[in-house]
Amino acid sequence: MNHPLAQLFLARLREFFREKAAIFWTYGFPLILALILGTAFRNRPIEAIKVDVVTTEATQEEAGKLVERWREKDPRLKVELHPEKEALDRLRTAKTALVVFPDPAEAAKYRTVVDENQPGSVLARAAVDTLVLREANPAAAVPTATTMADQSGGRYIDFLMPGLIGMNLMGGGLFGVGFLIVDMRVRKLLKRYLATPMRKSDFMLSIMLSRLLFTITDVAVLLAVAHLPFFGLTVHGNWVALLAFILLGGITFTGIGLLIACRARTLETASGLMNAFMLPQWLVSGVFFDSSNFPAVLQPLIQALPLTAVNNGLRAVINDGAGFGGILVPSAILLAWGGISFLLSLKLFRWL
């Protein structure tokens, strides 16, 4: 117990658990964020399909009947009647997805105006086409039964939870190690430690181990909450692989935190560096939406980012059922980031 590593570790635990704010930001905040986002996106609502039907005074009655029939057949449709100019304006400003000009004489003859850039618009045309076709040809093939797919693994919450865990691993490692070290440097505490026979490796290890403990428990809480029936997250892959991968992610980000903090002399510098590193990754690394949405030219860069690697690995195990074999690539990327960061920070670290 009197080993310096044990004492340094103990001191970190005491400092941490006596700081109410630190506990909130490490455990409370991510949990609240996960609860709010998770609840909001637990199931995405069935998307309404907005269609405007163009009417004139002459066609008003006919169009009204048409709309009644459509609404009855496809509950997703939100059909509104508008004069031509108004309807086209609504399409231009994306207030509606499709404009339909019905032919009062023959129901099967109609014109549509589609906006190809709106995914909803294409969907709306398909929906309207189907309706009109079926009306004209009631004998067309119809599925005998339709069941809604709602299985764990493919829902948005299943996508989101691994992303939030990845985000926590990154934030915990960077802020937890980065701010701590820069703060100790500003307070001249690093210099004071340097003035003792303390081994530098003991110091570094104590920072990393304590941070890992804080982050891993935080992630464990998140995983446990995601497992509640309310969210119903299921780990389809190997649990041991998942835990090992989370540990690797935690270590990698403490290494990057160390690197970011290794020379910064003020908290402002450190916080600027950390934000510059984290903000782009929150956006492109697939926390909230799939990173494959970004242009192909950027993909090699995006895939090489540590948060992308963490998220890909977590999703592979949690959703796709992967074991150790399925996370080799993200693990290699993380090892590279972590290893290089550690080596660089050992070389560059400034105690004074």
Partner: protein
């Protein structure tokens, strides 16, 4: 010789800049075991830089440093085990209590006092369970020294240990330092309080512009002024008499003219000097505003040597 605790020769520290900043410009020092040595000088004189080189926290640009007969580049860990350091401004962790803090520092050393012994040496027993952020400035400074003492060092380096403390806290710290010295151990401290240096230090070195400009016991340095008494004289302006006039007066060794018609005279015997000075004031028709005598202090030594005040409070 092994009786030397610190030996420094031709110490130089230059910081790269344009033009380069010469913080220390050729310092030679020897401090013997069991001595309390004080480095005095104004802010920016090179005191802290010199201290940090002695403490092995800064690498010198040139010169040699030996601490307890060892050199930093070869025996860093060995020296670290045998010295204790209190830096000018360290903020220890607010959320640890006194005993936890000292215990943490104790763990860094192979041998040493128990944490409670170290706390007792600085009389913080009653605060052993108090968090650092609940301590007063003086108590924090004593805790810093407990952390320096807990490795049972042969030598203490204290950089401005009493700066910013109230008189009572300063006296408590002096007791801690005297107690350490009474055990035959060595202390090197920096200060810009002259009374502190005179009361605590066996010898002092005055540093200005990166050089040691005077070295000796406080008494020796004061005697170097040529007299141990000082006469402070103030006359109405414009003063009809000059420093030259005063310096020719009986028993006056040196004269320094200050602003606002003030003169500081170093005198061997005030009983002889006073009547002579009064005679001169009357003869010149000067209006007397103030006149006082006192013992010379290190402050006078410093001002005489450098021409400026030790503490630039302006």
């Amino acid at each position: 010789m092994s009786s030397l605790a610190v030996r420094v020769s031709a110490l130089v520290k230059t910081y790269p800049a344009s033009p380069p900043v010469e913080a220390v410009r050729g310092v030679d020092l020897e401090v013997t075991v069991g001595e309390c040595f004080g480095l005095l000088g104004p802010n920016g004189a090179g005191k802290t830089t010199t201290m940090e080189i002695l403490e092995g926290l800064l690498a010198p640009t040139g010169g040699e440093v030996e601490v307890l007969g060892r050199r930093w580049d070869r025996d860093e860990r060995e020296i670290r085990e045998r010295i204790g350091i209190s830096l000018q401004e360290t903020r220890l962790s607010d959320k640890l209590n006194v005993r936890e803090t000292v215990t943490l520092f104790r763990s860094f050393y192979r041998t040493g006092l128990t944490p409670d012994e170290a706390i007792e040496r600085v009389s913080l027993q009653e605060k052993a369970k108090a968090f650092v952020d609940k301590l007063s400035g003086g108590q924090r400074q004593r805790l810093a020294i407990a952390c320096a003492l807990v490795g049972d060092p042969e030598m203490l380096f204290l950089d401005e240990p009493t700066t910013g403390l109230d008189p009572q806290s300063r006296r408590q710290l002096w007791d801690v330092i005297r107690d350490f010295k009474a055990r035959g151990r060595t202390v090197i401290l920096t200060t810009h309080y002259m009374d502190e240096a005179e009361k605590l230090c066996d010898r002092v070195g005055i540093i200005d512009h990166g050089k040691v400009i005077a070295l000796g016991t406080p008494n020796e340095l004061i005697l170097q002024l040529g007299g141990e008494h000082v006469l402070d004289l103030t006359v109405t302006e414009p003063a009809p008499l000059t420093a030259d006039d005063l310096s020719r007066t009986t028993a006056v060794k040196s004269v320094r003219a200050g602003a606002g018609g003030t003169f500081t005279l170093t005198v061997t015997d005030p009983a002889q000097a006073l009547p002579a000075v009064m005679e001169l004031v009357r003869a010149k028709g000067a209006g007397l505003v103030g006149l006082s005598t006192r013992h010379a202090t290190l402050e006078d030594v410093f001002v005489t040597l450098t021409g400026h005040q030790l503490r630039d409070d302006s």
